[in-house]
């Protein structure tokens, strides 16, 4: 039974969503597009976003899809999103550094890395269990 539970958990690991907040930005025709979400199905809706654009600080809110756009005055801006309850993320973005395609690719990479980390964590838990069992048997 426990083996079945573990197998279910491992299968489940592939579809679980991120706990931390994600923040991505890209630019098109002089505008910066910002996307923020906890998971693909849970965008950071109406979250406060602070943008430091040179000496100016803009305070905006994401829309229902966790997105917003703005026209920067400087080529490098700092963007931070506050999802509440300690979910905070800040990035520094340089104009013309990323396209939408690159952002999509980065998002996919991050999701894949997270899947591997979850699998690694579950393997570590299993390894700790095996080592504990071996240690207890050795002590006997």
């Amino acid at each position: 039974m426990l083996r079945k539970i573990f197998l279910c958990l491992l299968l489940f690991a592939g579809v679980v969503f991120a706990h931390k907040i994600n923040l991505f930005a890209y630019d098109e025709e002089g505008e910066i597009f910002v996307e923020s979400y906890f998971s693909k199905s849970a965008p950071c809706q109406n979250c406060p976003v602070e943008i430091k654009d040179g000496e100016k600080t803009l305070k905006l809110l994401t829309d229902d899809d966790g997105k917003l756009k703005f026209k920067p005055q400087n080529s490098v801006v700092s963007i931070s999103v506050d999802g509440g309850m300690g979910h905070f993320k800040e990035i520094n973005y340089s104009l013309k550094s990323l396209t939408k395609e690159q952002v999509l690719s980065d998002e996919n990479d991050e999701r894949a890395a997270q899947g591997w980390k979850i699998a690694l964590s579950l393997s570590i838990i299993a390894l700790i269990a095996l080592l504990s069992l071996a240690f207890k048997r050795f002590k006997k």
Partner: protein, 201 residues
């Protein structure tokens, strides 16, 4: 329910770490060979629960399952939660190493409450259902209270954050109550021996 690094005052961190260390040592001491696979399975479950987001209105909450874990593991839940929190802090940056003690205290104390609740004998079906709902609901309430209490201890500036933290967990309490109720019913059907073991925990 994870408190991030750099939020709490050092004295709170030290006190939290000291309490958690004693509780962890006791949990380790009470661990038997036969318990290890169960503890690790529940540790993995607790670890994964934090990644499951439930969208509620404009925000989303994640599962905790401290009540469910505590009900079946008893005092050994402290060990299971510690391993899961450690991996979450090291690999995902949830919480942090310095706040590990406080987070363990906030999450494992309600698990012990769940263990006590789970031992209450319920004869009728509706009483069992209510009890299992409580096993999910009440530990999250206590956890949210402890979290708010720790934030209040940190200073007056954190009182609003403490209130928000408690209110934000109300939907989680209800969701966890329902999930724990159905999970217990399922486990009673497929693995009744887990219920006997939990009574000995």
């Amino acid at each position: 329910m994870h408190i991030s690094e750099g939020v709490l005052r050092p004295e709170i961190l030290i006190a939290g770490a000291a309490i958690s260390l004693c509780a962890l040592a006791y949990s380790l001491k009470s661990l038997k060979n036969d318990d290890i696979p169960t503890v690790s399975a529940f540790s993995a479950l607790f670890f994964l629960a934090s990644f499951v987001h439930v969208p509620i209105g404009i925000t989303s909450v994640h599962l905790i399952l401290s009540g469910f874990v505590g009900a079946f593991l008893g005092v050994r839940a402290i060990l299971a939660i510690f391993v899961a929190l450690l991996l979450q802090a090291l690999l995902f940056g949830f919480g942090g190493l310095s706040t590990l003690g406080v987070n363990l205290f906030v999450l494992s104390t309600p698990a012990l409450l769940a263990s006590l609740l789970f031992r209450i004998k319920a004869a009728k079906n509706w009483q069992k259902n209510l009890l299992w709902f409580g096993v999910g609901f009440l530990p999250i309430s206590l956890g949210a209270l402890l979290l708010s209490f720790v934030l209040c201890l940190n200073g007056d500036n954190f009182i609003t954050a403490a209130k928000i933290a408690f209110i934000a967990h109300i939907p989680v309490m209800l969701i966890e109550g329902i999930i724990t109720l159905f999970a217990c019913r399922f486990l009673l059907y497929v693995k009744p021996s887990l219920f006997e073991r939990s009574a000995r925990a």
